[in-house]
């Protein structure tokens, strides 16, 4: 990067002024360049590397014997992968959906100018301060049939009470939803509360003057105003859902069997503990594909509609 200017430019403007202009032009770029280079390399570079590895027969260490799409074929034939993928759909869908509804509801209730709002808000927001590992361990104890909820209720005398989702292969994935919703809905509430506070009172007053009922005001006036909030909440929640790993490890360990496995845990297990880096990379690429398939259309529609609207 030299400081000399092109002759035309130097001739057109006084030297001092142009040096300043040059700096104003280039300083932001110079400052950003390292981080852009680093993310290009470490994010996109590694994505490409992962893709390359997924086409090889890499086992314990990366190798470059290309086998085409054999790893993908093997992945498609793998029961456990399908369990993990289905679980992600179930877990992700329920987690994002329930968090949004619950968060919005809590925010609306808190928004009624009640007393002690500050402390209530803290109570709801607090779980977000915990690590997913802690949440996982706590819920593991709570849901363990011989230690937690079931044992407690049976101890009260309801001998037939059964709540053994944690150890039931068909239900284990829903325990992940319970723990994750408990953790994240308070955060969504905070987002919505901030959004609600940002809405101009006069719109609501106008609606009230027009005789709209309270639920109707929320449905037709407030919620549409909160579109950007919903947008960011969905973005944050879905990325939490897709990268969910620690929660699974702490709460169910992927079990019983591998009934509550998610693609992230599948990828980790195969690439790092089972010496199948090729297969692990293939599953990572499919995860990336899944994320892009959902996010790109969503981003596109949201960003476009906002520009037009």
């Amino acid at each position: 990067m030299s400081t000399s200017l092109s002759p035309e430019r130097a001739a057109r403007v006084p030297v001092k002024r142009s040096a300043l202009a040059f700096l104003t032009d280039w300083i932001p770029r110079l400052v950003l360049a390292p981080s852009v280079a680093v993310s290009l390399f470490f994010v996109y570079g590694f994505m490409i590397w992962t893709f390359v590895l997924s086409l090889t027969n890499s086992r314990m260490l990366p190798s470059y014997d290309f086998v085409g799409f054999a790893q993908y074929a093997q992945l498609m034939a793998n029961d456990r992968w399908w369990v993990a993928a289905t679980n992600l759909v179930v877990f992700g869908g329920l987690f994002v959906g329930i968090c949004l509804v619950l968060g919005a509801l809590l925010a609306i209730l808190l928004d009624q100018r009640i007393r002690q709002e500050g402390s209530l808000r803290t109570v709801y927001l607090y779980p977000m301060a915990l690590s997913f590992i802690v949440t996982g361990v706590v819920w593991k104890w709570l849901l363990n049939p011989s230690l937690g909820l079931q044992a407690m209720v049976r101890g009260w005398g309801f001998e037939d009470f059964t709540f053994d989702w944690l150890v039931d292969p068909d239900m284990a994935v829903y325990t992940l939803v319970i723990a994750a919703v408990w953790q994240a809905s308070g955060f969504v509430m905070a987002l919505f509360l901030a959004g609600l506070r940002g809405i101009d009172d006069s719109i609501i007053k106008a609606a009230q003057l027009d005789g709209a009922s309270l639920p109707r005001i929320y449905a037709r006036v407030v919620m549409p105003c909160l579109r950007p909030v919903v947008f960011s909440a969905v973005m944050i929640l879905s990325h939490i859902a897709i990268k969910s790993f620690d929660l699974v490890v702490a709460l169910t360990g992927g079990g019983p069997g591998y009934a509550s496995d998610l693609p992230a845990t599948f990828m980790y297990t195969h690439a790092f503990t089972r010496a199948q880096i090729g297969l692990g990379s293939a599953s990572a690429m499919l995860m990336l594909g899944g994320v892009l398939a959902i996010l790109i259309p969503y981003l596109y529609s949201e960003l476009r509609s906002r520009r037009h609207g």
Binding site: V67, A70, S146, T252, G253, G257, R274, A275
Partner: protein, 423 residues
């Protein structure tokens, strides 16, 4: 101003330190860096024995301990070190994984030490085989764990009026009495490797060592998808009736503490469980009982920790590495290490009088089975098959164990696929 003054001082201190290190270097004969995950109390003490021995020989010991369950973290670190061309001198690598590292051409040759120390004569053939890649010794065994143990709380058993079972049938037979006494018959942790530990023990008890070897070591698809396997799987599923509801995801040591505390009567687990009993201040034979897993008296499933040696960079390093390999198998280390870790020495000619009764029994059986052919590698503990195949078998076993709707026939078929379908 202050920093200006301090700078030269700091620099000269640094110079002194570097100079000191350089000056002291020639005194050392060589340096070994050993990657291991012996990080818990007893294990760390055991590893220290080796360090002291090496230092007594004049070598420098660079400890490279990476904590983390089962060594997964350590293996990840090792892979990145190996990829960057800077592997440690030795690493705790075991079983068929030694072959994988050998195939990458990274392991050194220990044949000279092996010949000088007569490893052929010291190690049972099954064990020596695992330590060799391409006919050359590349690793040295540190200890032997027996996996097919049954741990029992005698007080609980006698209160329920039953004996320690010697066959799986007896085990099922006493379950009702134990339940009636308010005790869980068999403590278990529902993690894939624990399910697989019980599974391999059941296969061994039901079908014997020859079948075990054909199915779980050689991965013969006919054996994996046979009537015998279906029977073994059926019995394996029946083991579930001996366990409690809360087992899912439980750690093995929690299960052991249930036996210690008397909530459960027995546990099928390798001899590392002894560490928990010892830590609780209990005496073998009195406060707790260790017997071979029911139906597997004449067999011994082993789980052997070993140190694999990476190619040495120069002669000094080679000398240090050879000394390390020799010391690991020498009686001093074998005794001290295994007393601290609760396992038994890898060589069969040692005086076992300092060891407890469980270890003595284990050693006697190790010798006997290595002669009778009952010595088999543990599939569940990564001694029999490669990690990828092991993982695929784990998937089938744990899924079958937990899925009430999967038939044993379907599981046997999937086992056969798991053994053959990997790249």
């Amino acid at each position: 101003m202050r920093s200006l003054l301090r700078f030269p001082l700091r620099k000269s201190l640094l110079g002194l330190a570097v100079g000191g290190a350089l000056a002291s270097a020639p005194v050392q004969a060589g340096e070994v860096e050993v990657l291991h995950w012996w990080t818990s109390g007893g294990e760390a003490r055991a590893a220290n024995v080796l360090k002291d021995l090496m230092e007594a020989e004049g070598h420098a010991w660079k400890d490279f301990a990476v904590a983390g369950g089962g060594g997964e973290t350590a293996m990840t670190v090792l892979k990145s070190r190996a990829m960057s061309g800077n592997p440690p001198s030795a690493a705790q690598i075991k079983g068929p994984e030694i072959q994988e590292w050998g195939e990458l051409g990274l392991l050194g040759n220990l044949d000279d030490v092996a010949k000088a120390e007569d490893w052929e004569g010291l190690l049972p053939e099954v064990v020596a085989d695992i330590m060799r890649h391409d006919g050359q010794y590349v690793a040295v065994p540190v200890n032997v764990h027996r996996v097919n143990w049954l741990w029992a709380n005698p007080e609980v058993l006698s209160e329920a009026g039953v004996e320690v079972p010697t066959s799986l049938d007896e085990m099922f037979a006493i379950a009702d009495e134990l339940r009636a006494a308010g005790v869980i018959p068999l403590a278990h942790g529902g993690q894939p490797w624990q399910d697989a530990t019980v599974f391999e023990t059941v296969v061994l008890a039901e079908a014997g060592t020859d079948f075990y070897r054909r199915a779980l070591v050689e991965l013969d698809p006919e054996a994996l998808n046979s009537e015998t396997m279906v029977d073994a799987l059926t019995t394996f599923k029946r083991m579930r009736t001996l366990m409690d509801d809360g087992m899912s995801g439980r750690d093995w040591n929690i299960a052991t503490s249930m036996v210690i505390g008397g909530q459960a009567a027995m546990q099928l687990m390798g001899d590392w469980a002894k560490g928990e009993f010892t830590a609780a201040g209990l005496t073998p034979g009195e406060d707790y009982v260790c017997v071979p897993a029911p139906g597997t008296e004449s067999a011994f499933t082993f789980n052997i920790d070993s140190l694999a040696m990476f190619k040495a960079s120069d002669d000094e390093a080679q000398v240090a590495q050879d000394d390390l390999a020799r010391l690991v198998l020498e009686p001093t280390f074998q005794e001290a290490f295994n007393l601290a870790k609760g396992s038994i020495p890898a060589r069969a000619d040692l005086d076992m009088s300092d060891f407890d009764s469980c270890a003595q029994r284990s050693m006697a059986d190790f010798q006997a089975t290595s002669e009778s052919g009952g010595l088999v590698p543990s599939m569940a503990h990564g001694m029999a098959v490669r990690a990828s195949v092991q993982g695929a078998i784990f998937d089938v076993v744990t899924n079958f164990f937990n899925d009430p709707n999967m038939s044993p026939e379907a599981a046997a078929e999937r086992l056969a696929n798991a053994g053959s379908s990997l790249l």
